[in-house]
């Protein structure tokens, strides 16, 4: 399966990971969770504050399916 992974703010630098293709997608052979996706590209869990699956709040334990869109945010607090 193939999922789209969007990495925001400070996490955008992880989008250059070699496993992410030019469309921002990541491929998996079998079942996987959002945690598997972020581990694969090396995002430390402690740097993650919000996780979204297809635009809706989710958790790192959420299972992902083909064509899902995953959004990952760090803590943001500037004002």
């Amino acid at each position: 399966m193939k999922i789209e992974i969007r990495l925001f703010a400070t996490l955008a630098s992880y989008a250059s990971h070699g496993d992410i293709d030019s469309d921002g997608c990541l491929e998996f052979d079998g079942p996987a969770t959002i945690r598997d996706a972020v581990q694969r590209i090396g995002v430390p869990e402690e740097d993650i504050k919000l996780v979204f699956l297809n635009g809706i709040a989710a958790s790192l334990d959420s299972a992902i399916n083909n064509k899902d869109r995953v959004g990952i945010f760090p803590p943001i607090g500037g004002g």
Binding site: G55, I56, G78
Partner: protein, 280 residues
């Protein structure tokens, strides 16, 4: 002469942007009427607009903001907590829009690191309390807006009395703990809270309803975390943009627009560029 007659005698006809003739009146004439009758200026603005005479300062708001909307704004009250990057833009915007009463809060004075992004920070305001500078600058921009300046930190739910007459609160703070305290105040006062935050060339806006607990989802357990803005900085672009979205959310609430029911999180990345909506 009655206030109506005084206003009528000073009004003139001007063709607006849509080619429609409108009765208009200037600040000077409105101030004269306030002085003659010895009544507060904002009351003269309201009377003028109720009579269909458009203050010139609001003419270019129309028809996106109607005269009826403008009267609603002139009689509205908004609290803006934080008068830094976001707060300065929000306060200036609400002042130009003619929101009648603004309560503004910030314990700090301007310093040189504010010059990159904060409205009204300038060489001649360095060292001066932000809220006092804002109050003075806004008085010159729109004297029909009454601003109460509070040179204090808002970080305690016991401060809820200060928000008693507000209809909505804008969150322009910059620390997780203070934002959680402010959400507690908004819960206590049953007020909508328009959250905004920035980092780098991006930022987030979200309407938080009383007791919905979503500020906790954004900041709970993160008090000591290194946040994105420390790593990316906060150039002027993102506070100006996010503040504009916050002002829009405040307007939608004050004017009772359907859009004010939409409390999805908006995230904008100007560099990419992208705008995404998320349900939290």
């Amino acid at each position: 002469m009655s206030i109506e007659q005084l206003l009528e005698s000073r009004a003139r006809i001007k063709t607006d942007g849509q080619g429609k003739d409108r009765q208009v009146i200037g600040d000077k004439e409105l101030s004269d009427v306030a002085e003659i009758l010895n009544i507060p200026l904002y009351q003269v603005y309201v009377k003028s607009m109720e009579k269909g005479i458009v203050p010139l300062r609001y003419l270019r708001n129309m028809p996106s903001i109607t005269l009826k909307d403008q009267i609603t704004l002139q009689t509205a009250c908004v609290a803006v907590v934080g008068s830094g990057g976001l707060g300065g833009h929000i306060i200036e915007g609400l002042c130009r829009l003619g929101v009648g009463v603004l309560h503004i809060f910030d314990p700090d004075s301007f310093d040189e690191t504010n010059l990159n992004r904060q409205v009204f920070s300038a060489q001649n305001t360095l060292g001066k309390p932000k809220v006092e500078v804002m109050q003075e600058c806004c008085r010159l921009i729109n004297p029909a807006v009454r601003i109460t300046a509070h040179k204090i930190a808002v970080n305690d739910e016991n401060q809820s009395d200060l928000f008693a007459d507000a209809q909505v609160i804008a969150d322009a703070l910059d620390t997780p703990g203070d934002r959680l305290a402010l959400a507690g105040i908004a819960d206590k006062c049953r007020l909508p809270l328009v959250h905004g935050t920035v980092a780098g060339f991006g930022g987030r806006v979200m309407l938080i309803h009383p007791l919905d607990g979503r500020m906790q989802m954004l900041y709970g357990g993160q008090k000591e975390a290194v946040s994105a803005e420390h790593l990316l900085g906060t150039p002027v672009l993102s506070p100006a943009l996010v503040a504009s979205f916050q002002i829009m959310a405040v307007l939608n609430i004050l004017l009772g627009k359907n859009q004010s029911k939409d409390s999805r999180m908006i995230y904008v990345d100007m560099q990419k560029p992208s705008l995404d909506l998320f349900e939290l």
